[in-house]
Amino acid sequence: MYNVQTQSPVGNDMKLQVEPFRPAVEKDYTALDKIIFGDNQFFGINHMSNEKAQSQAIRFKDSETIIKVIDNAYQAGIHAFMFNTHDRVKALCEHFRSHPDKYSDLRLYPSLPYAHKYANAVNESGMLGALNEFIFSGRTTKEAISTIIKGGKSIIKKDMIEVMKLLVDAEMRMFRDLPIKAVFLQNIITDLLLGLGVRDVFTEFVSHIKKKYGVEAAFNTANMPVLVDYLLDCGIDNPIVCASINKVGFSMCPNQAECEKALAEKPFRPIAMAIFASGAVPAKEAIEYICNLPNIRTIIFGASSREHIVDTMNMINSCWKEK
């Protein structure tokens, strides 16, 4: 668990940090959870059809409806959740903070940034304007001054690594005081940076997450084999990489065979997402395929009904038990 007061080596700058992360309950989180509950369904993200996405967006208009589904998952025994840093997740985090007893065994896996809000802001304000908006948005004057002092050097030196750290901290603010297990770099950004080939961003992201939040960094990607090779080459050992892995090969770039080969041969911790390929694969077939692949110990899935959550969880557990 993170503890900024004791673990952060950020140095003197930390004295200026107005709103530090405080440690949550200390637990041993050396292993990743077997099942993580995903959040795409709550925010109108569906790769199968826009109609489905829209009907989900309508259904989950209110946070209470989302919380009901989260509670169903929690009561069924899934205590690990991945949340993208969508604006609406702030309300969910607030809910978790207000009910510490109810969620005493909660484990969160933030995935940041939520890229579409940046894309739209860049359209309206240009790239630097958007950076300023996000680094300073929602901050009091005092906090903003602290951020300017902390980021002063980076703004003067115009260094994108330092800007990246400021953006990470801005995105992480919504999770303050909550138990974080690992922090994911969202796939649009991971893959963009992978293409750019900036090693320092990856290594600095890993070390910043470790130093500031005391947990491991992880990566979402659509280019699993390429990313794993790259991370290993950067000296990031046994990286946590979450990618689409499914029976029909959907979103498995460059192709399904290369992804399966990487799973069998590369030293990394794979997490399977999009296992149903947005509904293209029947549940049982989908889970059997994943459980028969080597080295996968974690599955992320999202669902909207209690029945679906419990059925999927039971299928995963029994399939893994059989192995």
């Binding site: 900036v198 029909v248 979103s251 947005s278 293209a280």
Partner: protein, 344 residues
């Protein structure tokens, strides 16, 4: 190994760089951008030369190809400079600000052994490639009606000062956003003979339109509606929805789903009489390297393939870009005769 450059290192320029930087036969040697922040970081982290003057960049670097991802008003000069320096060119959409500019560039490149492509990326989407195949095979019989809706959450506030809020620089919904939808109509149906009933709406912007409504009429009776709005906050990201009716059936397509209705049993494998629904996961084929969407990689790999195999672009050349610019001009002329409806 092809030596590449990018002019305009903003969101699209960076995306293109990321996708092609992983291409085994491409090496980027320089980028050009007006921002010092961008140049500093490109030079420091990407290991390329970073210029603020593309004329100088072309002179010094002599690239095999360039990608122009600058504001539309600059397309003319950047592309011209690239052609004069014998570089293959990929230019972002729309091609130019008006057909006069487009014609000049097309004349300039004619006779030169250069590959040219315009970045109408939707042409490379898995769903719309399938629709194009059906259109070419004329599976719906004689067409009589279509509509193209394009909506997105691109501008949701009073516009801040940028080129997107300046029509002379190619800003506004018509050039910057609706051009995708107009190009899709050109690609799937063909350019209209007449454009009527155009209305430009301002919703949040002060100086440019946020929505475009227009009617396309074709000789023979086919007609269709274009309805585009870049200020719709109910959308998570921009999307096109295309619906076309023919005497034998109907197609409804967006970036995720293809729905085809046939009145009679069609002679197409995997399709039957009545409704046929195909979802994205069954249509999408993986790409060499994924950034943002399959179609982004596919359009650039196609451009590079054309260069390597010395075959002209058949999917989205400057000729296609000019055709779309011409329709944009028709819409603009038609729209300026109507009342600009200001809703706030």
């Amino acid at each position: 190994m092809l030596r590449g450059t990018i002019v305009g290192f903003g969101r699209m320029g960076i995306t293109h760089y990321s996708i092609l930087n992983r291409h085994p036969q491409v090496k980027f040697v320089a980028v050009c951008d007006s921002s010092g922040f961008v140049r500093y970081n490109a030079a420091k982290y990407l290991g390329v030369e970073a210029y603020d003057d593309y004329h100088k960049m072309f002179r010094e670097v002599k690239p095999d190809f360039t990608i122009a991802a600058v504001p539309t008003a600059m397309h003319m000069d950047v592309v011209k400079t690239a052609i004069l320096n014998d570089a293959h060119v990929f230019v972002e959409k729309p091609f130019t600000l008006n057909p006069v500019q487009g014609n000049e560039l097309l004349n300039l490149i004619k006779g030169k052994d250069l590959i040219h492509q315009v970045g109408y990326v939707v042409r490379f989407s898995d769903v719309f490639r399938k629709v194009k195949e059906f259109m070419d095979r004329k599976v719906l019989g004689e067409l009589y009606k279509f509509k193209l809706e394009m909506n997105g959450p691109t501008v949701l506030h009073g516009a801040k000062k940028s080129w997107r809020s300046n029509r002379n620089e190619g800003g506004g919904c018509l050039y910057d956003f609706a051009s995708h939808g107009i190009d899709l109509i050109n690609y799937l149906i063909g350019p209209p003979d007449t454009v009527v009933g155009t209305v430009f709406q301002r919703i949040f912007s002060k100086d440019v339109e946020d929505a475009v409504i227009s009617t396309f009429i074709y000789k023979g009776g086919l007609c269709g509606n274009l309805s585009v709005n870049w200020s719709d906050s109910s959308y998570r990201k921009p999307d096109n929805c295309f619906e076309v009716l023919g005497k034998k059936g109907k197609i409804i397509a967006d970036l995720r789903t293809l729905k085809v209705f046939f009145g009679q049993k069609p002679d197409i494998e995997g399709y039957t009489q009545g409704w046929n629904i195909k979802y994205f996961p069954s249509l999408a084929k993986p790409v060499r390297f994924f950034v943002r969407g399959f179609e982004f990689t596919r359009q650039l790999d196609y451009f590079i393939d054309c260069i390597l195999n010395n075959k002209p672009s058949e999917i989205c050349s400057f000729d296609d870009g000019l055709k779309t610019d011409t329709v944009i001009e028709q819409i603009r002329e038609n729209g300026t005769r109507d009342i600009i409806n200001k809703t706030n």
